[in-house]
């Protein structure tokens, strides 16, 4: 079992890259790996609870919560979130907020880092 860290920057709507990040995390957890996820840039859209699922739009909140229930650690960039008007009280249960140094620190111990860049 290894530790896998994903740095995730794409927006929820506009590409499938954020969806891919969660699918990859799901596959890694299924293989028994510990997964950390850093949400930054436009990916902080995930830091808003209560999003409504429409079939025309990506919706990852349900899968994210399932994966967090299986031990995935999800931390959102506090500055990126505040800049977009997503505040502490908006964050889904279990998600943490931190500054960018959290992500940098994770690069030390993690076995693999995959950085999924934004738009």
């Amino acid at each position: 079992m290894g530790e896998f860290t994903l740095g995730v920057f794409p927006s929820l709507v506009g590409s499938m890259s954020l969806d891919f990040s969660f699918k990859l995390a799901e596959a890694a957890i299924a293989k028994g790996h510990k997964v950390n996820m850093w949400l930054s840039g436009n990916a902080v859209m995930m830091a808003k609870k209560g999003q409504k699922a429409f079939k025309d739009y990506s919706h990852n909140e349900k899968l994210m919560k399932e994966l967090m229930g299986k031990g995935m650690e999800v931390t959102v960039c506090e500055a990126c979130a505040e800049a977009r008007g997503y505040h502490k009280e908006d964050v889904p249960e279990g998600m943490k907020r931190a500054s960018m140094d959290w992500y940098l620190a994770k690069t030390v111990k993690t076995d693999k880092l995959l950085h999924i860049g934004g738009e």
């Binding site: 960018m100 140094d101 959290w102 620190a105 994770k106 111990k109 880092l113 860049g117 934004g118 738009e119």
Partner: protein, 138 residues
């Protein structure tokens, strides 16, 4: 674990995308990452501008004056001030017709820095890509 080397590779041009700014702010965050790490561990970032990303390094940016936001130039200078090495790809500068005197090379106007911009070849960048633990493409 000791010191872990990271290479931030910036390919996007400035102001069209948030990526270059995020690369720089994440690299600068290495200065405070120790609060989350064990004693003796550290991260050692280098930021390299390649492809259209070399346009981030053009000096004289007026983002604050025109848009009221911090310029990429000021983030680059802040990086140099906190000892984050800044590299720029010579071949990509040449491709875009950029000369060394058009490029941000120091942080003299904001108090100075020990580091200056390093003009490097693609071969040097590739060597560094092979040497670091993690690559982060922005």
């Amino acid at each position: 674990m000791g010191a872990v080397k990271l290479l931030f590779v910036v390919q996007r041009p400035p102001y069209k995308s948030e990526n270059p700014r995020l690369a720089l702010t994440h690299a600068i965050a290495s200065q405070t990452a120790e609060i989350y790490m064990d004693d003796g561990d550290s991260v050692v970032p280098t930021v390299v501008f390649v492809g259209d990303g070399v346009l981030n390094m053009v000096k004289g940016q007026q983002a604050m004056k025109i848009y009221g936001v911090t310029s990429t130039e000021s983030h680059i200078k802040s990086s140099l001030q906190v000892d984050v090495p800044i590299w720029i790809c010579k071949e990509d500068m040449e491709r875009l017709g950029l000369k060394e005197d058009q490029i941000i090379t120091d942080a003299e106007d904001i108090g100075g820095a020990d580091l200056t911009t390093k003009f490097v070849s693609f071969a040097d960048i590739q060597k560094e890509m092979e040497a670091v633990k993690h690559l982060l493409f922005f």
